[in-house]
């Protein structure tokens, strides 16, 4: 899918629909609403970026898609509908067994911090074997190792890695091995949660390019979560921006970077230095960062917004379509 595609997307092409999702956590000081009434559509075959700063809820949202919310959190309301055979099933209402079959086979996830995702006492090849056997018990081990080796090599890891234990590899190697593991069952949808954050810049660039290649070859749908907006510029088709649990803007990559509508998106882009942008164009985003336990009334961004007016502190704006697929949640804009 080209990034310049501004045609109206067809209803049929939506592979994941999130409706009214609200997730809360019980903490010592009260109840923290990490995800607040979020609606999101993911189109089949696209790479969707989910960006925001710490505490915006993007990681919680992503984990919820596989019903993996932390034990001290709970899904207060909402549905996560995944398209399967022309029907939508609500992932949140799957039984444990159905969910187990579903995970990794249809949707898989590459977590941040690869060390804790591997079992330290079994070799990499056994991770692959176990995963496949869990889902498709008919493949034999040799076949699995063959496919695994090919995946490992795709990620520019040495063949021998397949026989190593997780602790014998560097952090960068582990992250790549983890990424390759998520492809073993040919899922339709992959969630990548800060997949490149802990890596050095050179490896990061390589992985991004590799993901693009894989995407071009397989048409896989990807949800790419990161706090580093700049990494998304190179790979995503569309980007959703989150702030304190709400989605404030969704648009194509070019729309977001070249024509941002929401004041937060604009401010964010102006506050991030790059090696090419003239330094005079940069402007700090005024603080203070609100307390997530006690978010501002109305539009959560209003205390820091240079363009706020009366209604902004009173009512929360809804995501509206400005036409050509660009959505904003801001009182400055009216439906087109």
């Amino acid at each position: 899918m080209s990034i310049n595609n501004e045609e109206r997307k067809n209803e049929k092409d939506i592979i994941l629909k999130i409706r009214g999702l609200t997730i809360e956590f019980r903490v010592t000081r009260g109840i923290l609403r990490a995800v607040d009434n979020v609606d999101l559509d993911v189109y089949k075959g696209e790479i969707l970026g989910l960006a925001g700063e710490s505490g915006c809820g993007k990681s919680v949202l992503a984990h919820a898609i596989l019903n993996l919310v932390d034990p001290n959190g709970y899904i207060k309301s909402g549905q996560i509908l995944f398209k399967q055979n022309d029907e939508y099933i609500n992932i949140l209402s799957l039984s444990k067994e159905e969910l187990r079959k579903f995970r990794w086979d249809k949707i898989s996830i590459v977590f941040q911090g690869a060390m804790s995702s591997f079992n330290p006492v079994i070799k990499i090849k056994d991770h692959f074997i176990d995963t496949v056997k869990d889902h498709e018990s008919n493949k034999n081990e040799e076949e699995i190792v063959k496919i695994a080796t090919k995946l490992i090599k795709d990620f520019r890891l040495d063949e021998q890695v397949i026989n190593l234990y997780p602790h014998e590899m560097s952090g960068g190697m582990r992250q790549r091995a983890l990424a390759s593991l998520s492809f073993i069952l040919n899922p339709e949808f992959i969630i990548l949660d800060e997949p490149t954050t802990a890596l050095d810049v050179l490896t990061q660039k390589f992985i991004i390019k590799l993901l693009r290649e894989i995407h071009e070859k397989t048409g896989l749908t990807m949800l790419f979560i990161t706090h580093d907006l700049a990494t998304l510029a190179e790979i995503t088709d569309r980007i959703a921006i989150m702030y304190l649990g709400n989605i404030v803007e969704i648009g194509t990559t070019r729309q977001i970077f070249y024509d941002p509508k929401h004041p937060y998106t604009k401010a964010l882009l102006q506050a991030i230095p790059s090696i090419t942008k003239p330094l005079e164009d940069l402007k700090p985003l005024p603080g203070p960062v609100p307390d997530p336990l006690n978010p501002p009334s109305g539009c959560k961004f209003h205390p820091r917004c240079p363009l706020r007016f009366k209604v902004c502190s009173e009512s929360r704006p809804k995501l509206i379509d400005l036409g050509d697929g660009h959505l904003v949640a801001c009182h400055l804009y009216k439906r087109n």
Binding site: T231, E234, F257, P284, V289
Partner: protein, 336 residues
């Protein structure tokens, strides 16, 4: 033309690890580095994790004694090694070299409150005559770094303060004794992207006011460019400085293959530009280990230009067009 305040001459740092089983291992964190920081100047020290930049910063501050080489400080008209200063002279140096650390949450003891952490330096150096005066000075400094009203912050602990506020306190602590030189070690890396410029602007302002020299350590080239835009930058790889010179020059026109690869890989928040860039032509993605570094030029295992000499002999920093580059292949007409 201001004179150098601190000079490192052929400084090397080798760490020894004594594992329970197995032989002693040596890690060459810093190898044969010479550089100087002039009064009132900024030097950005850029490199990926493990390149030795933090170690170098600690050596400059006298917190680590290098295994070989000299750390020279200009005092009483002469350059003297800080490890052979008299008690009196050392006290002068100690006061003039301060640190702003990376993690905002461990910049003051989490078990102590702000006022108890900020008062002691004022009393130790007799800048204030008693606790009451010291308190007033703390209040002034808090205001200077943008924390107002200061009394609100006196009794707070780190867990109740945000990352941005804590870094401001870190800056206040460092300048409380009126130093001449500050090492900022990844000072904004753990802050949200939108907050970084604010803190950097604050640090730049304070630097102006106090006439400070700053060693700015970071892995982020864009941040380095922002902070040291009119000054110098040094790029480190596996314990060596590979290129050093004017920030804008180096970023617009990098000479060393590693610097070139870095600049090609840094994410750029501009979709059209980002997608056109290719991958740097590296021979390997693996960062060599510091225990068994490559012979000769440490980058030769990954460098697209490497030839026999690169494997045999470590290149010295040579002056090419007003900047220093450590590479055998630059300066040759056919290496372009």
């Amino acid at each position: 033309m201001s004179k150098p305040l601190i000079k490192l001459e052929n400084v090397s740092m080798v760490f020894e690890i004594h594992p329970m089983f197995g032989e002693k291992k040596k890690i060459k964190a810093v190898e044969n580095v010479s550089l100087e920081i002039k009064e009132n100047d900024i030097l950005a020290l850029v490199g990926e994790s493990g390149c030795g930049k933090s170690t170098l910063g600690r050596i400059m501050l006298g917190l680590l004694k290098p295994t070989s080489g000299k750390v020279l400080y200009y005092i009483n008209g002469k350059y003297k090694d800080i490890w052979s200063l008299s008690k009196k002279e050392y006290k002068v140096f100690r006061r003039n070299a301060q640190l702003i650390p990376q993690n905002p949450y461990t910049t003051i003891n989490p078990m102590r409150n702000v006022i108890s952490a900020l008062i002691p330096p004022f009393l130790h150096y007799k800048i204030a005559r008693n606790k009451e005066e010291a308190k007033k000075m703390v209040a002034e400094h808090l205001k200077m770094v943008g924390l107002a009203p200061p009394e609100d912050f006196f009794n707070r602990y780190s867990c109740r303060l945000s990352g941005g506020q804590l870094q401001r306190i870190a800056i206040a602590r460092a300048i409380s004794v009126k130093p001449k030189f500050i090492v900022a070690d990844e000072a904004v890396s753990m802050l949200d992207a939108s907050l970084r410029i604010e803190i950097l602007d604050l640090l730049l302002r304070i630097r102006e006011e106090y006439g400070l020299a700053v060693l700015f350590i970071t892995h982020d080239l864009a941040i380095a460019r922002y902070f040291a835009r009119k000054n110098k930058i040094a790029i480190m790889y596996l314990g060596n400085i590979v290129e050093m010179g004017n920030t804008e020059d180096i970023i617009k026109n990098p000479l060393h293959p590693y610097t070139k690869a870095l600049i090609m890989s840094v994410p750029i928040p501009d979709p059209d530009i980002a997608r056109k860039r290719g991958l740097p032509k590296l021979r390997s993605l693996e960062v060599p280990s510091l225990v068994n570094p490559p012979s000769g030029c440490k980058f030769h295992t990954r460098c697209p230009l490497a030839t026999e000499i690169c494997q045999k002999q470590a290149p010295a920093l040579r002056n090419i067009n007003g900047r220093l580059v450590a590479c055998h292949k630059i300066g040759d007409i056919d290496s372009k």
